[in-house]
Subunit: 110 residues, 2 copies
């Protein structure tokens, strides 16, 4: 997993907040999570990703995109669709996906 | 830290994505983080929060709000302002704050 803060452009742009609780066992999850991050980063409109999973099994991944259209296209990529199906049937106890428009951004640079 | 997924209402509503990298040492951080989560949950317009920090020091906290006005009001609460100042000067190596409008939500219930 990428553990850097994303270097996104000036808003507006879009974010997908994916919050999840993992089911027990790996069952190929870690390898797929890494592959999905790599594949996402190759899609048109991808701006960056931030991802953290805690020791209690709760994780938050936020990916950033230039448009709603790029988010829709990424959701429909066949290898990603197969991963989504495994996520629903095996890897996650529960999850939420929230599609957002980022209106404002500020921060402290390290 | 709360480690449940937030049970938010039907969109639209608003999210603040706070992504950070911690500086070394606790220096009162953990107690303040817990206090800020408690205080946030008492504010008008608060809808929920999800928060995870990884073992590498990167953390993501997403808080959900009914309006941009409620986000502005929370940012201005004096005890929160003091915490923000300590965050800038001591606790964080870097951070990003992204204010978003949540347009769509779906998921899998556990």
């Amino acid at each position: 997993m990428n553990s850097d803060l994303a270097n996104t452009p000036a808003p507006p742009y879009f974010a997908v907040i994916f919050t999840s609780r993992r089911a027990a066992g790996d069952d190929g999850y870690s390898a797929m999570a890494e592959r999905m991050q790599e594949l996402a980063s190759q899609q048109a409109g991808f701006l960056g990703v931030e991802s953290v999973r805690g020791t209690d099994g709760v994780g938050i991944t936020v990916s950033y995109w230039s448009s709603l259209e790029s988010i829709r296209a990424w959701k429909a990529v066949s290898e990603h669709r197969a991963a989504q199906e495994l996520g629903r049937s095996q890897w996650y106890e529960s999850y939420r996906v929230r599609v957002c428009r980022v209106e404002r951004e500020y921060g402290l640079d390290g």
